[in-house]
């Protein structure tokens, strides 16, 4: 699987309250959530993100609440991947469970700039910044988690 898009860049500790503020959690409708994605950190994100675009952030992305609405909102916006230096553990688990691609790569998170065009080859774990010409290799997932991703999420993996 591959994605290609432009980069939205954020700093450390992007929390789930800014990814999808709790005032919108009175619905589980993914389309409604997507309209407000990243609203409290970047008012332009939801209206400008294009399918395949990539979020690049620092340490501890997705910290805070367990709301699965956060990766669901990002996925429904059409974002192709989140690359971060590290992920908070519940966000990491939720993203994998719902099939929202994420990658841990400190070097890429440092080097890639906002607006760069980036392509990702998930099978090889290779991130290419087409604007700067740099390539990076992400941390591979453990085989157990690769299986969940390959099956299309946790519930699909349980069905065997």
């Amino acid at each position: 699987m591959q994605v290609k898009g432009h980069v939205f860049k954020y700093s450390d500790n992007v929390d789930t309250d800014v990814i999808i503020p709790a005032r919108y959690l009175n619905t589980a409708n993914a389309q409604d959530l997507a309209k407000h994605c990243m609203e409290d950190i970047d008012q332009n994100f939801a209206s400008t993100v294009q399918p395949g675009d990539i979020i690049v952030a620092g340490w501890n992305f997705g910290c805070g609440s367990s709301r699965e609405h956060a990766p669901l909102a990002i996925k429904t916006c059409g974002a192709g991947c989140v690359i971060a230096k590290s992920f908070a553990r519940i966000f990491y688990r939720n993203a994998i469970n719902i099939g929202m691609p994420i990658l841990e790569c400190e070097a890429a998170a440092d080097a890639i700039s906002a607006g760069d065009e980036v392509s990702i080859d998930f099978d090889a774990g290779v991130i290419t910044d087409l604007t700067s010409g740099q390539t990076f290799t992400a941390q591979p997932f453990p085989p157990f988690i690769q299986n969940i991703i390959a099956k299309g999420g946790l519930l699909a993996s349980l069905e065997g």
Binding site: D17, N26, S65, E68, H69, A88, R89, I98, L155, L158
Partner: protein, 417 residues
């Protein structure tokens, strides 16, 4: 190599003699929890996957607490979806308005969770039950759906940081000051993926409410769970309360910890986390020039009876400062009833505060105390992220109930003396 408490509980629930940090296991669950925000997503996934029935209707807890009594039509629809699911699957631990409380205050109080349990909850503060000597961690809604269907969850066995406590807390400090001090020291990802294991002679002097508050905010350091050893205080709390027999696990003498952090409780001071991270801590005494518009005393972190006692100790016979809105939210119906019986309710109103029925409400900017642009709140809740309690340009300072109540009287951040 010996195992930590967390590792022992996980090994037992995975049917293994030993586990190693980093090992992926599938563990049996004693309780699966959800609330009115996370359960609807889980129910949708549960129905989509056509699981049909839950693994055990007595091992699932659904608590309506975030937006109830329903704050708007959409919230009402979500509550109704939870209610219908609980009814059709005969969920015995379903808590609706009139019986509900904030989930992490309610489930220990009602004896639904106990020592030795392995628990997941679709709420990040599920780590609270580590205070009872259980392994308990927050997950998302899809994990909740899978847990409700199978009674199992996968875990990566965590390594541990030991927090070695000695000494006795000063009178104006509580569990909140301890956990804020720790988070200030190690940062919001200082325990990422790890367990925080509390040990030492200082444990004995901490009440159950202190321990529940400390474990509650383990997630604010990124931890998978926080856990206390089971001692006489825990046993006295669980006795006659827990519906299932507690199972007591102890860390091995040669358990491996990645790091040990020593905390002398006698040196703890009233501590406040400044905007916009729980790790941004300062002594309350350094913040006397911070003017506040609102005070919130409540939440799964600090809405328990000792928190109400601290608020009463500071507020009774006094008056909330002009221009300050003081909102007190007992976390469960039993706590609310006790506040009435002990005269706290009247004392709070006489002081100029308001008292709400149990709800998570303002903690996550849901309702019941939303902040306008430029406003500042001191709150006993657990997060002070941008926009957490309202407008993106509002500010939240996190503190203990005693510090929050003392601040309500002066209108500025103030510690109890």
């Amino acid at each position: 190599m010996g195992m930590t408490m967390t590792q022992k509980i996980l090994a037992a629930h995975a049917g293994l003699d030993t586990v190693q940090p980093g090992q992926l296991i599938s563990a049996k669950l004693d309780m699966v929890l959800g609330n009115d925000i996370t359960t609807p997503v889980a129910v949708n996934e549960f129905n989509k996957a056509a699981f049909g029935k839950v693994f055990d209707p007595n091992r699932i807890a659904i608590v309506l607490d975030h937006f109830v009594p329903n704050k708007d039509i959409k919230a009402a629809e979500q509550s109704k979806q939870c209610r219908d699911f609980a009814c059709s699957h005969c969920i015995s631990h379903f808590y609706d308005v009139g019986r509900m409380g904030i989930e992490h205050a309610l489930l220990p109080e009602q004896g639904v969770v106990t020592a030795g349990d392995c628990i997941i909850g679709a709420d990040s503060h599920t780590c609270t039950y580590g205070a009872l000597g259980a392994f308990s961690t927050g997950v998302g809604s899809t994990d909740m759906a899978a847990g409700m269907a199978t009674g199992m969850a996968w875990f990566k066995v965590p390594s541990a940081i030991r927090i070695h406590l000695t000494g006795v807390l000063p009178r104006n400090c509580s569990g909140k000051d301890v956990i804020l001090t720790l988070i200030g020291q190690i940062g919001v990802d200082g325990a990422l993926y790890k367990s925080l294991e509390f040990t030492g002679s200082g444990v004995a002097g901490l009440s159950m409410d202190d321990r529940l508050c400390i474990c509650n905010m383990a997630i604010e350091a990124g931890a998978k769970n926080g856990i206390f050893p089971v001692d006489e205080t825990t046993k006295a709390y669980m006795n006659g309360r827990c519906e299932r027999t507690p199972v007591i696990y102890e860390a091995d003498a040669d358990a491996e910890y990645e790091q040990t952090i020593e905390i002398d409780l006698a040196k703890i001071v009233p501590t406040v986390a400044c905007p916009h991270l729980p790790s941004n801590t300062k002594p309350a005494s350094a913040l006397h020039d911070v003017k506040i518009d609102q005070v919130v005393i409540g939440s799964c972190t600090n809405g328990r009876m000792e928190d109400m006692e601290a608020a009463y100790r500071v507020l009774h016979g006094k008056t909330v400062a002009p221009g300050v809105r003081c909102i007190i939210i007992p976390a469960t119906m039993d706590i609310l009833r006790d506040c009435v019986a002990r005269g706290y309710y009247t004392a709070f109103i006489d002081a100029g505060a308001i008292v709400s029925t149990p709800t998570c409400g303002p903690c996550l900017g849901g309702y019941m105390g939303i902040l306008a642009a430029g406003e500042c709140c001191i709150s006993t809740t657990n997060r002070n992220f941008v926009g957490r309690m309202g407008h993106v340009d509002s500010k939240v300072y996190l503190a203990s109930p005693a510090t929050a109540a003392a601040s309500a009287l002066t209108g500025y951040i103030t510690e109890e003396v």
